[in-house]
């Protein structure tokens, strides 16, 4: 099987954009790094929501746990970045597995509420476990060793940027493999018809827990990245707004196609960055209108726009 070279075009565009942005905005690397981390988070959400069709507003539960795990790991165990990522992944996957056992039997509103409740409980636990997590002051004192012992984290954030980019690229490639696998196909099958999946012999509940756990691991990596690059973990990592914004970004870009996550995050965060600089108070007008506009006029997200235009062009 030879890979179709045209399939690599979007990846090359992303790589080119990353290189270009690095040179054009050398003083905005911290912001660009935040975008990259958010992409990892939203990619993980896409697996759950876009592919398996699990509607959740609590994805921050795994991100936050990954962030705290990586932060604590760096402080108490080892400051090696890659080991820290692994710690974040394991923690995110563990939380997802445990909460998934409860959540994946529910649907609709109940599932949404469960997902929110899990994140809120974790936030409150982190808040109360002050001696360990720093509570509302946040977890401080994270100091990372150089990546692979070679690249030191610097003040301008160059290492952080390329480190986050590399992790993002690896996650993207891994997810491309996963969604094309029999496992990914079964996730789409569950999205389309859980009843049929049971009728072809799939233990749907167990499969959903497996999907959620894998996504939890990736969300944990995103959280760990954030902890390592910013040297800080605050309670916000668990916030409802964080989960909700991830969903908005994903739908904005287009669900169930991975690149939608990249596009949605980049657009949303850029608009937020610019709008917040001009008028932070009326930012909610913009995002509210943006969300309604997408849902009403481009329900398939930005990734669906070319297809919609093509259909228009063909006069259908």
């Amino acid at each position: 099987m030879s890979p179709n070279p045209r399939r690599l075009v979007p990846d090359l565009v992303i790589l080119a954009a990353a290189v270009g942005l690095f040179f054009v905005f050398p003083y905005d690397l911290a912001f660009l790094t935040r975008i990259l981390i958010m992409v990892v988070f939203v990619l993980s959400l896409d697996l759950v929501l876009g592919y398996a069709g699990i509607a959740t507003l609590g994805h921050a539960a795994m991100y936050g746990t990954g962030a705290y795990a990586a932060g604590l790991f760096a402080i108490h165990v080892s400051a090696d970045p890659l080991l820290g990522l692994a710690a974040g992944a394991v923690a995110g996957a563990a939380i997802a597995a445990v909460s998934g056992l409860i959540m994946m039997r529910a649907h609709g509103l109940t599932l949404l509420m469960l997902s929110i409740a899990v994140a809120q409980v974790l936030q409150e636990v982190a808040n109360k476990a002050r001696p360990v997590t720093g509570g509302a002051d946040g977890l401080r004192g994270i100091r990372m060793e150089p990546v692979l012992g070679i690249w030191e984290f610097d003040f301008i954030g160059r290492t952080g940027y390329w480190y986050a980019f590399t992790v993002m690229a690896l996650v993207l490639v891994m997810l491309k493999v996963v969604v094309a696998s029999p496992f990914g196909l079964s996730a789409r099958g569950i999205h389309e018809s859980p009843a049929r999946m049971r009728a072809i012999g799939t233990p749907v509940y167990a499969r959903l827990v497996a999907i959620y756990t894998l996504a939890g691991g990736i969300a944990g990596v995103a959280g760990a990245l954030a902890a390592q690059v910013t040297s800080l973990v605050s309670l916000e990592v668990y916030s409802f707004e964080h989960s909700a914004e991830a969903v908005i970004m994903l739908v904005l870009g287009g669900t169930g196609r991975l690149y939608g996550a990249v596009l949605g995050v980049a657009l949303f965060m850029t608009v937020e960055h610019l709008a917040a600089a001009v008028d932070p108070f009326n930012w909610l007008f913009i995002i509210g209108a943006l969300v309604l506009g997408v849902v009403f006029f481009v329900p398939a997200g930005l990734m669906g726009v070319p297809g919609a235009l093509a259909r228009l062009g063909r006069g259908r």
């Binding site: 409860i102 409802f240 209108a289």
Partner: protein, 286 residues
């Protein structure tokens, strides 16, 4: 003993507020099969209008409240016709997104109009006193809230069980297609129910301002609370919302009194346990 009574009184009062705000949400969600995250916005608008008419324009409380509720109803019905009608037909995720968008717009509007600070509501002086019931004294405000809550439950019961509108509403909740086949104008039932629910939410927002203070971010801050009442009560059930609201109100106050440090954790753990055991809610057909 005293603590238990305090918990009960505050819990029941709190539950009544939750009931008033959430009942419309539950009925519309059961009726239209829509996930609506924006409902708390109507409670906030009620409170914001009362604040404006009372504190800014100097209208007496009851008049201000009446005007505010009327305004909210008048606003909600066109919203239902224009926005929600298309939202009913969307998928779950799109519904979540669209109603979050509406919530953001509501917050931004109030923020632009009245700012982001607290919007205090001045209650009539007679409401702030203490009533002596012989064996015990109670804050007047709690007593009024509890009485209004009970009155609304009774009125809703009569409305649903005893009127033509109620029959249509129940038919439409049970099976929308059959109801329209029977010649029931489901569109009108939807609009009326939505308006009624929004009005009740406004009332709950106004009366409950002491417990759930009004500001621009109100719809987002309490969104989860109101939705949990619906999820626990079971969508589309008035009695279920009443039970759930009371239970959650009492639970909330109990954890506040008994385990103040771990109140939120305890509260949400109870909710998780409940929803895990009864995914369809208390009243739900399993």
């Amino acid at each position: 003993m005293g603590t238990i009574l305090n918990i009960l009184v505050d819990g029941v009062a709190y539950g009544m507020i939750l009931f008033m705000i959430s009942v419309g949400l539950s009925v519309t969600m059961g009726l239209m099969r829509v996930i609506n995250l924006a409902h708390g916005g109507f409670a906030m608008l009620g409170g914001a209008f009362v604040h404006y008419f009372g504190a800014v324009l100097g209208l007496p409380f009851v008049a201000a409240a009446a005007v505010a509720i009327a305004l909210v109803v008048l606003l909600s019905v066109p919203m239902e016709r224009v926005l929600y009608r298309s939202i009913y037909r969307m998928g779950e995720l799109q519904q979540v997104l669209a109603t979050i968008g509406i919530t953001f717009l509501m917050i931004a509007s109030v923020n632009l109009w009245l700012g982001s600070s607290l919007l205090p509501i001045r209650l009539p002086d007679s409401w702030t006193g203490i009533v002596d019931l012989g064996f015990r004294s109670l804050p007047m405000h709690r007593l009024i809230v509890i009485c209004v809550g009970l009155a609304i439950m009774a009125a809703l019961y009569l409305l649903v069980e005893g009127t033509r509108f109620g029959i249509r509403l129940r038919a439409a909740v049970d099976n929308r297609a059959t109801a329209s086949a029977l010649g029931i104008d489901t569109g009108r039932v939807f609009a009326l129910t939505f308006g009624l629910g929004a009005g009740l939410a406004a009332l709950g927002g106004i009366l409950g301002a002491e417990l759930l203070p009004i500001d621009a971010y109100y719809p987002l801050r309490y969104m989860v609370l109101f939705l949990i009442v619906v999820a626990v009560g079971g969508m589309g059930s008035i009695a279920g919302s009443f039970l759930a609201a009371l239970a959650l109100g009492i639970l909330q106050q109990a954890v506040l009194y008994l385990v103040p440090d771990f109140g939120t954790i305890f509260f949400f753990c109870c909710v998780i346990a409940l929803l895990a055991l009864r995914p369809q809610g208390l009243s739900g057909r399993v």
